[in-house]
Symmetry: C2
Subunit: 318 residues, 2 copies
Amino acid sequence: MRALVFEGDLKYRTDYPAPAPLNDEALVRVTAAGVCATDLEIIKGYMGFKGVLGHEFVGVVEECGEMGLTGRRVVGEINIPCGTCRFCKYGLGNHCPGRGVLGILNKDGAFAEYLTLPFSNLHVLPDSVTDEEAVFVEPLAAAFEVMEQAELGPSDNVCVLGDGRLGILVAQALSLTKCRLVAAGRHRDKLSILYNRGINARIGIDGLGREFDLVVDCTGSPSGLADALKVVRPRGTVVLKTTVADRGAFDLNQAVIDEITVVGSRCGPFKPAIRALEERVIEVRPLVSKTFPIEDGVEAVRYAAQKGVLKVILKIGG
Amino acid sequence: MRALVFEGDLKYRTDYPAPAPLNDEALVRVTAAGVCATDLEIIKGYMGFKGVLGHEFVGVVEECGEMGLTGRRVVGEINIPCGTCRFCKYGLGNHCPGRGVLGILNKDGAFAEYLTLPFSNLHVLPDSVTDEEAVFVEPLAAAFEVMEQAELGPSDNVCVLGDGRLGILVAQALSLTKCRLVAAGRHRDKLSILYNRGINARIGIDGLGREFDLVVDCTGSPSGLADALKVVRPRGTVVLKTTVADRGAFDLNQAVIDEITVVGSRCGPFKPAIRALEERVIEVRPLVSKTFPIEDGVEAVRYAAQKGVLKVILKIGG
């Protein structure tokens, strides 16, 4: 099959073997997939992954032991837990130490004509959500994860740092709580996506005090945590989405004295993400910078790594 | 009055002016005070403080506008909030940006014959709690703060790192919840204080897995946070008591991926600390390494800085 494969360098191949579904798995024909910052990191060596890249996708189930899934349009959760360890037993399958992760860890990903996933990972899409929108379900779920971790209400002061793909999704997701929200970024054009949706957006954090109950670092930048600690109030919470090779200096002593809570945050719940797209309360279409056919996948990934680019989508099957 | 004063170096003085209480303050004749790691840090330059050191004390109220306090034996909370800012209004006086802190920030401390504190900071002691024990109320309150920040129950797996003064108090406080507790330290003699109270104590963390719901870093060491992150489970919590000038390397990316919560922790509630001493469910007497008269205060502080020493107490008034 056609696939975009990382084997030390990124290659477009037409002879990659199609995956065979295990008993509990569905075979999914991928129609579109999104390029994520994690894909770009993997190409730099992150996770030591080799194989088919990609974990944000939409596709059609071709074969599945589970009744009623064959022929349906689906998105899929990316963690494949072992199902038997104590993390899995306590409902923490996303943290199973033996898990595979689609296109990231021990499991070929979505930049290919076909992928396999356990059918329990799949979510059927409403017809009104387009393929292009559906590619955003996985990162939007990661945005909703913030609301699973921090209770938020209309009287909370919240700041989202970063105006990249994830920052724009997180700001939109948090705005649904009607909290008092400020989104701070560095790019007028990206922030305008938020501004046009009635969200208070600004360049940088200069002039902001230590005033926020919750700060979410979506900068993907080494200085993100230090900036977050500058604007979070004593006893406030910083949710950390950023993973970076080298993190800049930050004052953890001040965080102890001010009794700040710092929470790491990763994958999130798919159902609210799908519902938000279906109800059109979150707008993802302005985030699509460019669409490439999978044949041009190497160029697409190179394009996605450029400054100013938001989401790049690969079109794979018809 | 007699006082132990830090003015670039530490001096015992007999001519230091006695403090005059403000309208809302009590004048307290100090009977005993404890030397804390923070005092040792201040002498190295921490906080830039100049004046009378000391913030762990017990004394007798000599003058007070508040009915019923004069003549009573008291301990006192060390943060002196402004009372009018929005932190104070929301009950976060301990985090008031304009606060003074006894013997630490803009307020002369307890290594002296007299101190002043707002009477709302004072707690009357039960007769059964000795002066020597009462000196531990402030650090024991900081230990109870962990239980204010992390909900704990009998089925939780908890690890306390560090067998210094604070580690021993935190381990004893957490053991009251009947959680499954492991205390890990580096000194057989210090750990034996915990072992003798039925607490599972061990040397180091070798052989421990990523198995703890809650880990409390009381090491006071640059490597404490890294060690805590090695034994906390995914989605678990690390409470950070350690403030150090240079923190060692730790993998915050792993903390993001594993969605760890890191919580800074400082001063805590006095009432449960006093009650625990009154009910004799926490044992502090084995922590007293040596008692000095205030006249020998410079030597006492030097002694407190030595390896293996737990708590040094200054006797001040009769």
